[in-house]
Symmetry: C2
Subunit: 322 residues, 2 copies
C-alpha cells in the first residue's frame, strides 16, 4: 500500500434507489462527494455513462493522474469476476460485467465487491478495525451482511461469495426467511425486517399495554420499535433483548470459526445502542468455548453512516489482491 497523500481513490456505493460517490485520500477525507439515482437507469451502460458525467468535474479538479482507481460497493457484486450477478434490487438483470464497464469508460482500474465486504475494508482502513488483521463486520440493515477479515485479507472463498453470515442458521426449525426460504437464519431475526416481524408477533400475543399497539399491526416496522423502545416501552425493549440474544448466539459461532480480535456491528439496527449490545454480549459470551471468553472486542462501527459506504468502496482501491 502506498501512503502517498496526493493519491486519491474514487468510492462508489450503489444502492437499489440511489448511488453515492466521492473522492477519498489515504486519510479517509472525502472530497467532491455527490449522489445520483440508480433506479432511473434501465441499463448498466446508461448508468455508467451518467456516473462518468457526474464525477468528471471532480476528476478534473484533482487531476486524473492522481487517481489510483475506482472502488465500487454494490449488491451481489463479485470481487473475482468484477460482475454484478442477478441483483434482485437493481434494474440490470443477469450478469453485468460492471468493473469492465467502469474501467472502459473511466480509463481507470476498478474493483467491486458487495456492500458488507466494502464496509469491512473501510473499517480496516479508517474505522474501528484500524490496525487489526482479524475481525468481522456485521451489517444490520434491511438484511444482515458480513465481511470477514483474517490475516489482513477479506475472505472471498473459492468463488467470491464467502461471508454470507446472515444466512447461517441459528435456530434449527425456526422462522422461515421470506425470500431464501431457509428456516431459522440469522437474517430472519436480526435484520430490520426480522425485528419488525418479532415485534408484530410479540404484540399479537401480548396482554400488556404497549406503545406499539398504537400502530396497525402491519405498519409496525423497525423504526416504530426503535422509537417506542426509546420512550421506555417494555415490549419494544423485549424485541431488542430477543434480537440481541439470537445475534449473540450467532456471533459465538462466528468466533469459533475465525477467532477474530473484534466484531464490529454496523447499520441502522445499531442505533438501539446498549438495548441490543447488552444481550448480544451476554449471549455471545455464554456460548463461547472457554479459550475465547472475554477476549473478543464487540463494538459499533466508528464510521459516520453517511460516509461509510463511500469510504469502504474507495478503500478497495488500496487493498491489494493477493
Amino acid at each position: 500500500m502506498s501512503n502517498n497523500l496526493q493519491q486519491y481513490a474514487i468510492g462508489v456505493d450503489i444502492g437499489g434507489t440511489n448511488t453515492k460517490y466521492g473522492i477519498v485520500n489515504h486519510r479517509g477525507d472525502i472530497s467532491h462527494s455527490g449522489r445520483m439515482s440508480t433506479s432511473e437507469f434501465l441499463t448498466a451502460e446508461a448508468f455508467v455513462a451518467a456516473l462518468y458525467s457526474a464525477i468528471l468535474p471532480a476528476i478534473d479538479a484533482v487531476g486524473v493522474e492522481n487517481i489510483k482507481g475506482i472502488g465500487v460497493g454494490a449488491p451481489n457484486a463479485n470481487y473475482f469476476t468484477g460482475s454484478i450477478e442477478h441483483a434482485p434490487n437493481l434494474n440490470w438483470k443477469g450478469i453485468v460485467p460492471f468493473a469492465r464497464l467502469i474501467s472502459e469508460r473511466f480509463h481507470l482500474p476498478c474493483s467491486i465487491t458487495n456492500d458488507a465486504n466494502a464496509a469491512a475494508v473501510g473499517e480496516m482502513m479508517y474505522g474501528a478495525a484500524k490496525g487489526m488483521k482479524d475481525f468481522i463486520v456485521i451489517t444490520l440493515g434491511t438484511g444482515v451482511g458480513s465481511g470477514i477479515v483474517t490475516s489482513g485479507h477479506l475472505i472471498y472463498g473459492h468463488d467470491g461469495f464467502a461471508g454470507e453470515l446472515g444466512h447461517t442458521v441459528v435456530r434449527h426449525g425456526g422462522r422461515q426467511h421470506w425470500s431464501t426460504e431457509i428456516y431459522g437464519s440469522l437474517e430472519a431475526y436480526a435484520s430490520a425486517t426480522g425485528i419488525a416481524i418479532t415485534a408484530r408477533e410479540m404484540i399479537a400475543g401480548a396482554d400488556k399495554q404497549s406503545l406499539l399497539k398504537q400502530y396497525p399491526l402491519e405498519e409496525i416496522d423497525s423504526k416504530a420499535v426503535y422509537e417506542c423502545a426509546m420512550k421506555g416501552d417494555e415490549i419494544a425493549k423485549e424485541v431488542y433483548r430477543f434480537t440481541g440474544q439470537i445475534l449473540g448466539e450467532a456471533l459465538a459461532n462466528f468466533v469459533m470459526f475465525s477467532s477474530p480480535e473484534a466484531i464490529i456491528l454496523f447499520g441502522g439496527v445499531t442505533k438501539a445502542g446498549n438495548l441490543i449490545m447488552d444481550p448480544v454480549r451476554e449471549h455471545m459470551e455464554k456460548n463461547l468455548l472457554a479459550v475465547f471468553r472475554n477476549k473478543v472486542m464487540l463494538t459499533f462501527s466508528e464510521l459516520k453512516e453517511a460516509d461509510a459506504a463511500i469510504l469502504g468502496a474507495s478503500a478497495l482501491v488500496w487493498e491489494i489482491k493477493r
Copy 2:
C-alpha cells in the same frame, strides 16, 4: 515452497497415549517411521529427549543437512506461540513451550499446530485438497475438530485458536456437551462420543428389535453402532441418519462463512461411508443459500489414516508462515 526432492521434513503426531513419527519427502513418501509412548513421560523435557534418541538414527540415515525442519501435530498446540496450552489429555500441564524444546534439542526449526489443522495441511499437500486454496477439513473422532484453509492459508485467527467448528452450536438448547457445557454443539452429536449417546437414547426409547439391544446400555459405543449398522440394523442406521443430518446442517453454516471448494471429512466416524455421507449431503444442500447449492465438493479424506497424522504434521514444515 521448494520442490527439492532431496529435502525432508520430520512429522510428529502426538496423541494422549502414543506418538508417531516419520521422515517425509515432498511427494509425501514416509520413510523411517516409528512410534513411542507419550503417556509414560511425566515431563515434556523427558519426552523430547526420548523422541530425539528415537529419531536420531533416521536423521543420520538421510543426513541432517537434508532435513528442513520438524512439524508437530498435538492437542491444544498453538501455532503462533509454539506452545502446547493446558492439554487435558497430556501429562504436561500448563503452558509448555514445546516448539522451543524441540528446536533446542534437534537444532532444527519446529512448527506446531493442533491435529485438525495438521490434517488440513496434509490434505492440501498430499490428499484430497491437492491444488485447492479454499477448503475445510472436519475431523470426526472422539471429538470434532476442523482446519479451515482460505486463499491457500490456514485460518489461525488473532490468537492461533481459530477453527473450533466442533463447538459451534447447531441445535439451540440441544444436548449439553459433557465437558464444555455448551448446549447443542456439533461435537455433542457428530463425535464418536455423541454417536454413542444418540444410540443409547434411541435404544432406550425404542420398541423395535435391534442388534444394539444385545449390549448393556452403557457399553454401546460408536464401534458397536458401526458394526450393527453394517449388519443392516435399522436403529443403528437411524443413528447415522440423525448424525448426518446435524452434521449437514452445520456444514451449510460453514459454507456460508468461507465458501470452500470442498469439505473433506476425516477420521473414524467416516468409516460408515454413505450411511453418513448421504444425509450429510442432503441436509447441507437443503440449508444452503441458492448461490452455494451443488457447488461444494463433499468427500472423504484420501490419506491413509495411519499415515495422515505424520504427513499432516510434516507438511507444516513446507507451509510458509505469512
